[in-house]
């Protein structure tokens, strides 16, 4: 197993952990962290698999840079929403029932 492949397999693990976290965690900050873990996992699969035979691939590196920026943007928006929700309701969890009707 080359190092690139190892990174990709770890990335797969991280992605699944993060995905389960987004589904299962209650605390909103932990959910945001889980989403970031999920994204990082996908990025590791992308770069890891592309260099599984040793040589790095600039195309995937550029894609990951793009992806990181998108993830930063999404995280910032999520944090803004959570912060504002906390200010209005004092809660850091989403209510159980979806809506009253």
């Amino acid at each position: 197993m080359t190092s690139g492949l190892l990174f990709a397999c770890v990335g797969a693990g991280l992605f699944v952990m993060g995905g389960s976290g987004v589904l299962l965690l209650k605390h909103l900050l932990r959910r945001i962290l889980a989403f970031n873990l999920m994204g990082s996992g996908a990025f590791l699969v992308l770069v890891g698999m592309a260099q599984r035979h040793g040589i790095a691939d600039p195309v995937t590196q550029a894609m990951v840079l793009t992806g990181i920026v998108v993830a930063v943007a999404a995280t910032a928006l999520a944090l803004a929403l959570v912060r504002h929700l906390y200010r209005l309701s004092g809660k850091l969890e989403l209510p159980e029932a979806a809506d009253d009707d």
């Binding site: 992605f15 995905g19 550029a62 928006l77 803004a80 504002h84």
Partner: protein, 222 residues
């Protein structure tokens, strides 16, 4: 209850995925030679920068759009402008403030260097912008820079200016060269540097804004 479904499904999926990854044959296409062959006409010497700003510059354009969008989203979410707008700077540790003052010029120099280095080595507008944003956050945390409120005209132009410059160059090239973001090889280097410089400033402001606009909304820095 949800746990009982999600966790076994996740474990099963990751196992299958890893087995499939380990088995995978080498890909049919290899872009590395293509990237290297066209590097001479791309205007930059670093392959990753060439991909970001020339081969796949359109992705980069949209990605900066996403970042600007996130900033607008934060402004839209964080509510109407507060009436209690007088932000008093918290009196901070004088040692912290002094270190902040020393770090500021050094970080500006680092940002300019990163921007310049981006053509041939790892670096570029994003990295330089990130250093500038870090500077703003640092100054904010040491009490030298207040959290931002709803942006005024100048700040709005600064935030969106880099993106609009990138867009205008793209649109101009579409009119002149007939294709979006097709840099004429002779001018590719200059155009990319122009775009990068504008972006550095705007990205610095946007990234700083993601922190400073949020930091303000509870009345002053903390």
């Amino acid at each position: 209850m949800k746990r009982l479904v999600v966790i076994p499904a996740a474990l099963f999926f990751v196992l299958v995925l890893i087995l499939a990854l380990v088995d995978l044959a080498p890909p049919a296409f290899d872009l590395r030679p293509l990237v290297a062959e066209n590097l001479a006409s791309s205007g930059v010497a670093h392959p990753v920068t060439a991909v970001l700003l020339n081969y796949r510059a359109y992705d980069t354009l949209l990605e900066i759009g996403v970042l600007l969008l996130a900033l607008m989203a934060i402004l839209a979410v964080s509510g109407s402008p507060r009436t209690t707008s007088n932000t008093s700077l918290s009196a901070s540790d004088p040692l912290l403030a002094m270190l902040g003052r020393i770090a500021a010029p050094v970080m500006v120099v680092v940002a300019v260097y990163l921007l310049w280095a981006g053509t041939s080595r790892p670096g570029g507008a994003f990295q330089a912008g990130a250093v500038l944003a870090a500077l703003a956050v640092l100054l904010h945390l040491t009490g030298l820079l207040a959290g931002w409120q709803q942006p005024g005209v100048r700040l709005r132009w600064g935030l969106a200016g880099g993106f609009l410059l990138f867009l205008s160059v793209g649109a101009l090239l579409l009119l002149v060269e007939g294709e979006l973001l097709r840099y004429p090889p002779a001018h590719a280097g200059v155009l990319i540097l122009l775009i990068e410089s504008g972006l550095t400033l705007s990205l610095g402001l946007i990234l700083a804004g993601l922190f400073l606009f949020l930091s303000h909304d509870q009345g002053g820095p903390r």
